[in-house]
């Protein structure tokens, strides 16, 4: 930074004192402490004049300043306290950086969303971010990104292994297979399935893969690679792309009468507007699938329209976990991690700043996640759970062993009428991804 810490301190002091009447004392103390600690953490050569009572709160707080500031700011926004909001946004801006540590990154991306929320420019910002992202999404970059992510973290491969296991079980003995794929992982799930089909059975079945693309750019190239790989594996294969989720019927998707169907949704159901989710699940049923596999991230962002603070808390909690996970999984100067973090920025803006009724049409990227238990409620109306076999559990455990420690598997234990079926991937004991399978 160019400005010396001393001058900045004085500037802030002025600000705070001038607004003393508007804010309550506790908030100021928190802010001051947070700022002090932040300075102490960032500029070790600095000694501030107000360090006396803050000395007791040491590195602990210095590490968590982002969440405190962000929470304060969110609260101020929901209370429509413009002065306080202004202060906090300014402070966050000073301290935030997408290239810093976890706190700085979270501060940076959430700051952007909070700013948009406060200025009601969420929709525009989101569109900008989306168009930037679209331009950057070349096949090569996406491929590299997702493969690297899968190499260092089981975040996506967990869902893949669980789903493939269920699909293979459901497809046992059928000679003609058709998978309807609605996923955000660019078909990286399928090579291992193709290999399993090729090596497992005496008679290799015929596989048709129909991808319902939500974002259209690179999927064609992905399809070509899939076709070639299937040829290599010796699996008779056909690949189709359909844009959008409008026509989910047997005719619309080209499902033949003699085909065994599986519907695979990885990180896709959350993209659908909340009101439409019920209909979509029913549409799946109309395809008479042998199995429906659903993988979603474990977070509840539904309440953003009504209760901003609550939604913000949940958003912060989830993305803190995610960013920490990314930081610990990737090497320090990883370009891929940067890209993944940037992908999050769009979601965060979308969830926090585009929630109002006026933002109905989001161009297909709703991002309102729900927890596994909530998806279960929806799915149970139409389907029944497809039990998670021991083989699948073993496969998942073997998968997790191949990654860094910190990951584990949690099989849902709840019983009874409202029991939650499925398995969870946990990162440091926190469930982060939920995977389940369903049958008619």
């Amino acid at each position: 930074m160019d400005t010396s810490p001393y001058t900045r301190n004085n500037h802030l002091t002025t600000l705070f004192h001038s607004n003393h009447n508007h804010n309550n004392n506790i908030n100021i103390a928190v802010d001051e402490v947070a700022l002090d600690n932040m300075h102490r953490a960032n500029h070790s050569h600095t000694s501030t004049s107000r360090s006396s009572d803050a000395a007791s709160e040491t590195a602990e707080d210095a590490n968590k300043w982002a969440s405190k500031l962000l929470r304060e700011c969110a609260k101020a926004i929901s209370e429509r306290d413009s002065t306080k909001t202004h202060h906090l946004l300014w402070m966050l801006n000073e301290l935030a950086s997408p290239y810093g540590d976890c706190d700085q990154k979270l501060a940076s991306y959430f700051l952007q969303a909070l700013f948009c929320k406060a200025t009601e420019s969420g929709e525009r910002c989101y569109k900008t971010l989306s168009s930037v992202a679209e331009k950057n999404h070349s096949f090569d970059s996406m491929r590299k990104l997702i493969l690297k992510f899968q190499e260092v973290s089981p975040w996506t491969t967990f869902g893949h292994v669980a789903s493939n296991g269920a699909i293979l079980e459901a497809f046992e003995g059928h000679p003609k297979l058709h998978i309807v794929d609605i996923s955000n992982t660019l078909c990286t799930q399928w090579p291992t399935l193709l290999e399993a089909l090729a090596t497992r059975n005496d008679e290799t079945p015929h596989l048709k893969l129909t991808v319902l693309a939500l974002t259209g750019s690179v999927i064609k190239e992905v399809g070509q690679r899939m076709e070639k790989f299937a040829r290599l594996m010796g699996v008779p294969f056909q690949f189709n792309v359909i844009n959008g989720l409008s026509d989910i019927t047997k005719e619309g998707l080209g499902i033949g009468e003699d085909e065994a169907v599986a519907v695979n949704c990885v990180g896709a159901l959350r993209r659908v507007e909340v009101e439409e989710r019920e209909n979509l699940i029913r549409a799946f049923k109309s395809l008479s699938p042998k199995v429906v596999t659903v993988v979603e991230e474990e977070a509840d962002f539904r309440s953003c329209g009504e209760d901003f603070t609550k939604c913000f808390e949940e958003c912060l909690r989830f993305y803190t976990l995610y960013f920490e996970m990314l930081e610990e999984s990737f090497p320090a100067t990883s370009n891929e991690r940067l890209m993944l973090e940037r992908e999050c920025s769009r979601s965060i803006v979308r969830v926090l700043a585009c929630c109002g009724e006026e933002f109905e049409d989001g161009g297909g990227e709703c991002e309102r996640r729900e927890r596994g238990s909530q998806w279960c409620e929806r799915l149970r109306n139409v389907f029944s759970p497809f039990g998670c076999s021991d083989d699948v559990v073993d496969d998942v455990k073997a998968l997790l062993k191949r990654y860094r420690p910190g990951w584990s598997l949690l099989v849902s234990q709840s019983q009874g009428e409202d029991h939650v079926s499925g398995i969870y991937l946990t990162w440091k004991e926190e469930p982060v991804v939920w995977a389940s399978a369903w049958k008619p």
Binding site: N136, E151, D202, L232
Partner: protein, 503 residues
């Protein structure tokens, strides 16, 4: 129904070991099969004079088949039974085993649907038939902890756990993997695969009748050729290229790059020859184009700087016939013969693994490939990011400006529209310095974009491969440098990372 021409050793060995025996023992047969081209006989082709024994599944799986005639105690091994019999104090006569000529016994599989249920395909070894029955028709009770693969026979499981996780898989692009699943996923998306297969579709007829067998052939041929070529660092290709692709204009360019690093050729010289018979075989099988074309197209374009350490080819052009050939050829013929048995490929996994093994035993600077591969791709990513960000980042700058102006006015309700107006006035100064930086980076990347006359696909491939070693130096410090530049850029302008597209 004589299967093996007059080989006296065939009677005493189990069918599966026949080929090895013939190789290692002196063969009185006047027409010995050439050792390098040994084909494995079909398992279960027994001596026609042997006695066929059909055991029930229960008897077959019984563990104690050697039973003492005196007390009916069962033993797993004959030696143990004999030891036990001594304890009965038998009179001398009865002590000896009956010495009448023991007729050779062969066993058939009790499972009716099995190939080996037929007496003509009986297996000669009891242990063999037991294992076969377990493997094919039995319950898989043994499971590997690491990869969850299941086995019916304990010895198979033990053998697997010893090697599980230790084997490395090598892709044609040079990257090594310790995990099979990441290898498979990578392989599916690898550029090396894409090029090869595109040649395949253009050159090989794909009638639906031939679909399966064609696939199988392609799979095998493709894999072995790829395995070869990986292992030999693509040294074979000139031979293929010269024979197969006369129309390729860049052959001469490619050959001229032989001057550089000579450290590889010595390693590889001995194995380069094996490519030739393989190549010829595959040419016959219509698969040569598969192997050669892939490598060829990868190297079709010269890099902008001519240094290309891994393409030291010219010294190897003429070499023929040293070691390394037999196992590869055997591999191919084995897979050929196995293929004719089953409708599906030998085992796609096994083929992949064999190819990987071939590759991994003769690695040619994989570190260069994999290391720079990564660098190249990241720099290409950043290039596209940068080039496309110029426009998009402007609107993000606007947001920053809005924020900055709000601060200065200390009026939170200054609307974004007002701020935008203010912002756009100082806009040009903001974008100016960033544009300068962008241009600098674009110039750096210029070389990447202009090898002459190539289409986009080859272009990218070339970049990934050749640019790796060639212009690696220029681009290596890309990431940390650029990040540092942007950080300082952002702070000097007072913009603190508000720009989503900024890199």
């Amino acid at each position: 129904m004589k299967m093996i021409p007059g080989d006296p050793f065939s009677l005493s060995t189990s069918i599966g070991e026949l080929s090895n025996e013939q190789n290692s023992n002196t063969n009185p047969n006047p027409n010995p099969p050439p050792p390098t081209k040994k084909k494995r006989n079909l398992p279960g082709t027994p001596d026609p004079d042997a006695e066929v024994i059909a055991l029930s599944p229960k008897t077959l799986m019984a563990t104690n088949r050697f039973v003492c005639e005196i007390c009916n105690k069962g033993f797993q091994r004959d030696q143990n039974l004999q030891l036990h019999r001594r304890g009965h104090n038998l009179p001398w006569k009865l002590r000896q085993r009956s010495n009448k000529e023991v007729r050779k016994k062969v066993y058939i599989c009790p499972e009716k649907t099995c190939v080996h249920h037929d007496a003509a395909r009986a297996l000669g070894d009891l242990t063999g038939i037991k294992k076969h029955y377990s493997r094919k028709h039995g319950e898989k009770k043994w499971k590997c902890e690491k990869c969850s693969k299941k086995y019916a026979v304990q010895s198979d499981w033990k053998a697997h756990t010893k090697t599980c996780g230790t084997r490395e898989y090598k892709c044609d692009c040079g990257t090594l993997f310790s995990r099979k699943d990441s290898f498979i996923t990578h392989r599916a998306f690898c550029d090396a695969l894409a090029e090869e297969s595109s040649k395949l579709t253009s050159s090989v007829a794909t009638s639906s009748l031939n679909f399966k067998s064609q696939d199988v052939m392609n799979t095998q041929g493709g894999l072995t050729s790829r395995g070869l070529i990986t292992g030999q660092g693509m040294q074979n290709v000139p031979q293929f290229g010269a024979h197969m692709f006369h129309q390729r204009p860049n052959l001469s360019l490619w050959l001229n790059q032989g001057n550089h690093h000579m450290n590889n050729p010595l390693d590889v010289a001995s194995s380069s020859s094996s490519g030739v018979p393989e190549g010829l075989q595959m040419a016959q099988a219509n698969n040569a184009m598969l192997g050669s074309s892939s490598i060829f197209s990868n190297f079709g374009m010269p890099p902008s700087n001519s240094s290309n350490p891994n393409l030291s080819l010219s010294p190897l052009m003429g070499k023929k016939g040293e070691g390394g050939a037999p196992d590869l050829v055997t591999l191919y013929s084995e897979s050929q013969s196995k293929n004719s048995n089953s409708a599906s490929p030998m085992s796609a996994t096994a083929l992949l693994q064999k190819a990987a093994q071939m590759g991994s035993t003769r690695s040619t600077n994989p570190s260069i490939f994999s290391g720079n591969f990564g660098v190249m791709s990241s720099s290409s990513t950043q290039t596209t990011t940068l080039n496309s960000n110029n426009n998009a980042s402007q609107s993000c700058y606007q947001l920053d400006q809005a924020f900055q102006n709000m601060n200065q006015q200390e009026n939170f309700n200054a609307t974004s529209s007002g701020a935008t107006m203010l912002g756009s006035s100082s806009f040009s100064s903001l974008t100016h310095s960033s544009n300068g930086l962008d241009q600098f980076m674009m110039q750096n990347n210029m070389k990447l974009h202009h090898p002459a006359g190539s289409n986009t696909v080859e272009h990218n491939l070339t970049r990934d491969f050749l640019g790796v070693s060639g212009s690696g130096g220029t681009h290596h410090p890309f990431l940390p440098q650029e990040l540092a530049k942007f950080a300082s850029l952002g702070s000097s302008m007072g913009l603190n990372q508000f720009t989503a597209g900024h890199q």
